[in-house]
Amino acid sequence: MATITIGIMNPPYESANTPTAFRMVDAAIRKGHDVNVFCYEGATALGYAGQKQHPNAVHGASIEEEDHPNPKEWIKALLAFANEKQVKLVWCNCGLCVDERGVENQIEGVCRGSPVDAWKYCERSDGVLLIGTE
């Protein structure tokens, strides 16, 4: 089995790049590969534990009815999936980017690193994909 590193930069709720990246991680885990995800810049807010669901006043839907998905839940699900499949999923945030945004309160399982860690992940990987913002 291979090791794949994926870099993400987009912040949550803004770009189709985010669900596409999540789909790639899901597919890689399903195939039994180890995956490193390095979140840079705005993507460090993907695992922010303070994300909250909201009702939809326009459609008169409650929080429960709306069931708005937050990316922190997708990350939790991916970490659980990796555990179930017994593959390694590292979800690492750029620490400086986290501090800049004040999103230190992350869900369990997300780690903190630096671009040096990103470089190490890439060096040890069979395949690398960086999904930039532009």
């Binding site: 790049n17 789909r23 790639m24 597919a27 395949g127």
Partner: protein, 108 residues
């Protein structure tokens, strides 16, 4: 032979760089590379029969494997039968397989 994976996430109507990304794929193919060009998100819009994108059409028939993400096609109600000849629907698994096989990957 080097393997390349180029992923196009934008349509040519939202970014002026898209045509250059097509050209890069074409040139890599001409140079003997094994190139997969994966259309995803709005990138699949050029693959519709009738879509006017001359730069994309230059890729058709070249030494480039053209895939359109099946999920992105479904999201946009684009049927498999309406794709330009030479473009096939593909799952995101294709991207993972190429990354696992060590393909050099670029996202645009």
């Amino acid at each position: 032979m080097s393997k390349y994976l180029l992923i196009q996430s934008k349509s040519p109507w939202e970014s002026g760089d898209v045509a250059q990304f097509y050209a890069l794929a074409r040139e890599l193919g001409k140079a003997g590379g094994e190139v997969t060009f994966f259309l995803v998100q709005n990138g699949v819009m050029s693959a519709r029969t009738g879509a006017k994108d001359a730069a994309f059409d230059q890729l058709l028939g070249e030494n480039v494997r053209l895939l359109a993400d099946d999920f992105s096609l479904r999201e946009r109600a684009i049927e498999r039968g309406t794709l330009k000849p030479g473009v096939k629907p593909g799952a995101i698994d294709e991207v993972v397989d190429l990354l696992a096989a060590g393909a050099k990957a670029l996202w645009h």
